[in-house]
């Protein structure tokens, strides 16, 4: 006897996904085909286990891996800029490649693909963000900030600040100060 089965791939896949997710006790929401959203935080082990389970069926977690890596890149950069003073002197490409165990070319391409900006731009953005934070804290002078963030000169930092934000560091500081005064007045 020969029969024909009309597979509902979507239903099967969804059923499979549902089983595996339930096994791992992950709470989720189905957004569309092959697209789910976790409604609570999922540990890396669980994600790895899910990936392994799916591998048996020739499937794998696609976007997630990429975005996790991107997130890792971001976290590493933020950590490097904000917390790891000692490594700021090391070239960021080398630093990232070592920390994340991938070639810089791969990381760079992946990052641009997902975020529409380059790693370099992201680093600059973070550095300028850190500069803003330091400026508003009034703890360091611009010269000290430039030194701390490994800029060759204050002028270099100023230029990058101006290029990134469109305003000069001193204008930024002035605006933030005035804003605080204004909000104090309104209170």
């Amino acid at each position: 006897m020969k029969i024909f089965i009309k597979f509902d791939f979507t239903a099967i896949c969804n059923k499979l996904l549902e089983e595996k997710l339930n096994e791992l006790e992950i709470k989720y929401k189905v957004l569309g085909f092959g697209e789910i959203e976790f409604t609570e935080k999922v540990s890396q082990e669980k994600l790895d286990a899910l990936n392994d389970a799916l591998n048996e069926y020739g499937s794998e977690i696609v976007e997630n891996q990429k975005s996790i890596l991107v997130q890792k890149i971001k976290d590493t950069i933020i950590d490097m800029v904000f917390n790891d003073d000692t490594n700021i002197n090391v070239k960021s490409s080398v630093y990232l490649a070592e920390k994340l165990d991938h070639s810089y070319g791969y990381l760079s391409n992946l990052f641009s693909e997902v975020t529409f900006t380059s790693i370099e731009n992201f680093i600059i953005l973070q550095k300028i963000e850190y500069t803003k934070q330091l400026i508003t804290n009034n703890e360091l002078t611009l010269t000290e900030i430039a030194f701390k963030l490994n800029y060759s000169s204050v002028a270099h930092l100023s230029t990058q600040f101006k290029n990134t934000t469109g305003i000069t560091p001193s204008a930024f500081q002035r605006i933030i100060t005035k804003r605080r005064e204004l909000s104090n007045e309104n209170k």
Partner: protein, 148 residues
């Protein structure tokens, strides 16, 4: 990338500018939804409705009849419900006074309307991208100042 559409509002009394603005976003192919209002009063009426969908980014022309961009900015900044809206001033003027004043009043972005369509597209995409960065990378929104 599965992001929800970026919801963008422009309040500008100038018809041509609204046209350029909408066309620019059309061509940008970012997932955006654009709404426009003809003046400040219309805009505030919409925002103040309880169940209105609030924009991610609000573009404000400074020089509008009935209610100026600065007045809108002031009203928006008073309302806690609007605290997550990024505000971009979108003006012909680039006087330092206007720029500094609106920044102090709480604007995040100041755009001098470009005189080239390509430039306009670049500027708008820049604003959306940076805003997205602030949104996703946990940056301090208080420090979000951008002049283009």
């Amino acid at each position: 990338m599965q992001e929800e559409d970026v919801f963008i509002i422009l309040a500008d009394d100038d018809e041509d500018d609204r046209l350029f603005f909408e066309e620019a976003f059309d061509e940008l192919k970012i997932n955006t939804k654009v709404a426009t209002f003809n003046d400040g009063v219309e805009l505030m009426d919409y925002l103040n409705k309880e169940n209105s969908l609030l924009p991610n980014i609000l573009f404000l022309d400074l020089n509008m009849p009935k209610k100026s961009g600065k007045q809108c900015l002031q009203e928006i900044k008073k309302e806690a419900r609007f605290k997550d809206i990024a505000i971009a001033i979108y003006s012909t003027s680039a006087s330092e006074e206007d720029i500094e004043n609106t920044f102090v009043m709480g604007a995040n972005v100041y755009i001098k309307k470009p005189n080239d369509f390509k430039q306009l597209k670049k500027v708008l995409s820049n604003v959306v991208t940076i805003n997205w960065q602030y949104h996703t990378s946990g940056l301090n929104k208080d420090n979000f100042l951008l002049r283009l």
